[in-house]
């Protein structure tokens, strides 16, 4: 068991009457890639900003590598890297100049600065663009530059707030390969994302809804949460020609507990003991039905169940 990288106890943030983050408890171990998920406006960014010392918590404590984020902000800043939601480097500065600025901002001595700049440029592979103004880079390269800047001072913990929002799939995969390389070196990563395929790559996950941490654990642990995969129910993936018609029909079936659309498929949660043939027979009159297979809940299923559970309260 490695020492904790991030320890959060009862962390809360209120803006006036509105509670944005509610008594959050969380542990993140060193070297983990922790995926922090939740709908828009659920408090993800505010939590990250509190952990980076950008927003002062209203209540509770959080520490990063043992340093209190509210009282030892100074020391926290030296050991963390932060990559925000949108591109937040200087567009009128070149790649090289942005790196130079952050190198100086972190107080690296000239010799060390030169060395680190070369290392991060090699790491993210941005060498061909060092003389380009960063505003002219594509989205993927901008994010790599942002990562490079966040890594200059060799932080042990890096916070990434939706690092892949709005960049193309290839750039997304490349960026994740970089994150894996970092995690292998023992860097702790705290990542927010909306992409389920990215969530699947995380070693542990946390799900926040309306400021409250609903669940945290590995994918396996989340799957075993009550209500996610009930023993008295079965989950099927149903391929259908007219997906909306099938969806409407499935919802009306008495033995169907829940239906969700996933692209060309429905995920249908039925009472246990309902044969797939019966499902096919009931849906066939409305549209052509393809393959029906029994499935384990995907991460998206899990989060939908967790979200609905909250909404129902």
């Amino acid at each position: 068991m490695s020492a904790g990288a991030i320890t959060i106890d009862g962390l809360s943030k209120r803006y006036g009457e509105k509670t944005v983050v509610r008594a959050l408890d969380l542990r993140v171990a060193r070297g983990e890639i922790f995926g922090f998920l939740g709908p828009n406006g659920s408090g993800k960014s505010t939590t990250i900003k509190m952990l980076c010392g950008l927003v002062r918590p209203t209540d509770g404590h959080a520490s990063v590598l043992g340093f209190d984020v509210a009282r030892e902000t100074e020391r926290v800043r030296r050991v963390i890297g932060y990559m925000s939601q949108s591109f937040s480097l200087y567009g009128d500065l070149t790649v090289e100049e942005n790196l130079e600025f952050y190198g100086r901002a972190y107080g690296l001595a000239p010799e060390r600065r030169r060395e680190r700049k070369r290392e991060v440029v090699d790491l993210v592979g941005i060498e061909p663009f060092v003389r380009f103004r960063s505003a002219t880079l594509s989205g993927g390269w901008k994010q790599r530059l942002a990562l490079a800047c966040a890594l200059l001072h060799e932080p042990a913990v890096v916070f990434l707030d939706e690092p892949t929002a709005g960049i193309d799939p290839v750039a997304r995969r490349d960026l994740w390969n970089l994150l894996f390389a970092l995690a292998e070196r023992g860097v702790t990563l705290f990542v927010t994302t909306h992409y389920m395929d990215e969530a699947e790559r995380c070693s542990r996950l946390g799900y926040i809804y309306d400021g409250e941490l609903v669940a945290a654990g590995t994918e396996e642990e989340l799957r075993r949460l009550p209500g996610v995969d009930p023993p008295d129910a079965a989950r099927y993936s149903v391929a259908a020609e007219e997906i909306m018609l099938a969806y409407a029909a499935a919802r009306r079936l008495p033995y169907v507990r829940d239906v969700t659309i996933f692209g060309r498929q429905l995920h249908v949660l039925t009472e246990a003991g309902v044969a797939p043939e019966r499902l096919r027979a009931d849906l066939a009159p409305v549209t052509e039905i393809g393959e029906i297979v029994r499935i384990a809940p995907s991460l998206e299923d899990i989060f939908l169940v967790l979200t609905r559970g909250r909404e129902a309260r």
Binding site: K49, C52, G53, L54, R56, A70, T73, E74, R77, R78, I80, Y82, S84, Q85, S86, F87, S88, L89, Y90, G91, D92, L93, E97, E100, F101, Y102, R104, A105, Y106, G107, R133, C149
Partner: protein
């Protein structure tokens, strides 16, 4: 919190600010050229109005001294004697109606009185509602009066001709042309507040501010690194408008130029403090622009640029002390026009620097609180 004023990271911020400035030459050129252009526009607008002041006269003497006096007023080129009134009442009506800005009243029997050795009093009525014109008229009438008095003295001790200017509507006008030096302060204030507020709020809007605030750069380092380049630009502006004042408007600096430059630098820091304060409130550049207008427009009035502060309600006078420009106008007019030194200007200097320090410390604290 330990590091609210730590200047850590000052060099890093300065480094990137210099690049920002060099990458945006249009803004730099505008920042340097606009003050001079504004100075010329404002300055000329003022200058053309103070020549050939529309005037009336009432000649109840109809003798040699009346002819001489009216010729002297005409010859000064400042007065355009358009109306010959037939009574004192008509003279006053012309002023109230706004037909003339100045009126000369030459009393009956002036020529005879002068011959008999009695003092002749020529009254000059001046419309004080436009202070610039009024000052010019006041100064010109006084000068002509002195000239007439010299001519008429003829060895006797008390001057025999006395020109008595009297302000109507706005009696406590001060002497000398105070608008051009004041203009320097107004223009410097506008440009420095704008540059500073937009620079920081722009970073907030682009999201780069958070990225900087997660580094160990202290609030002090951030603010100092931002202030230094803008003080430099503002100082070049200051030099340019001073040159325009001297060579275009012919206003010379009566006092110590070195002191003027030094205090100009101090004013720039105080004005940047206001810009900082605005940028700690505004979330977007549009908000920053509106706030800058909200602050600079009243400050032009309350600082005494256009209107005498002594004529304002006491409350407004006190509000004026919350504006660095108020103090700087005193300093500008004091040094440029009256040749004043630190010995008499120290209260204004202390007020300006104190206010600037308060503004910068308060804004820094706001940033520090927000960022930690």
């Amino acid at each position: 919190m330990s590091g609210a004023f730590a200047v850590r990271g000052f060099g890093a911020i300065l480094y990137k600010e210099m690049i920002h400035v060099s990458r945006d030459p249009i803004t730099l050129i505008l920042a340097l050229a606009l003050p001079v252009v504004q100075m010329l526009i404002f300055g000329y607008a003022i200058n053309t109005r103070v020549q050939h002041i529309s005037s009336a006269y009432l000649d109840e003497d109809r003798g040699a001294i009346a002819v001489r006096a009216l010729d002297a007023f005409r010859a000064s080129q400042q007065f355009d004697l358009r109306y010959a009134a037939r009574s004192r009442a008509e003279l006053e009506r012309l002023i109230v109606a706004g037909r003339v800005r100045a009126a000369f009243d030459i009393p009956p029997n002036a020529t005879a009185d002068l011959r008999a050795g009695k003092t002749v009093r020529i009254q000059v009525l001046i419309d004080g509602s436009d202070s610039t014109v009024a000052q010019q008229a006041y100064a010109a009438a006084t000068a002509v009066g002195a000239q007439l008095a010299r001519e008429a003295r003829g060895g006797s001790a008390p001057p025999l001709v006395e020109v008595r200017p009297r302000m109507l509507f706005n009696p406590s006008l001060r002497s000398a042309n105070f608008l051009v030096p004041g203009l320097i302060g107004v223009i410097m204030q506008l440009i420095t507040i704008f540059l500073m507020a937009l620079s920081i709020v722009g970073e907030r809007e682009r999201g780069t501010l958070d990225q900087v605030l997660v580094t160990p750069i202290g609030a002090g380092g951030l603010i100092l690194g931002k202030i230094v380049p803008y003080v430099a630009i503002g100082f070049v502006d200051f030099l340019l408008v001073l040159l325009a004042m001297r060579w275009v408007f012919g206003v010379t600096v009566a006092g110590n130029l070195g002191l003027l430059l030094l205090l100009g630098l101090g004013f720039m820091v105080a004005a940047l403090g206001m810009g900082l304060w605005i940028s700690s409130i505004a979330q977007t550049q549009v908000q920053a622009m509106l706030l800058t207008f909200a602050v600079t427009m009243p400050s032009i009035l309350l600082s005494g640029f256009f209107f005498e502060r002594e004529l304002m309600p006491l409350v407004m006078q006190w509000v004026g002390y919350a504006i660095p420009l108020t103090f700087f106008l005193e300093i500008l007019r004091g040094i440029i026009l009256r040749g004043a030194g630190l010995d008499v200007l120290w209260p204004s200097v202390a007020g300006m620097l104190g206010l600037g320090a308060v503004l910068i410390v308060a804004a820094t604290l706001r940033f520090a609180r927000r960022s930690s």
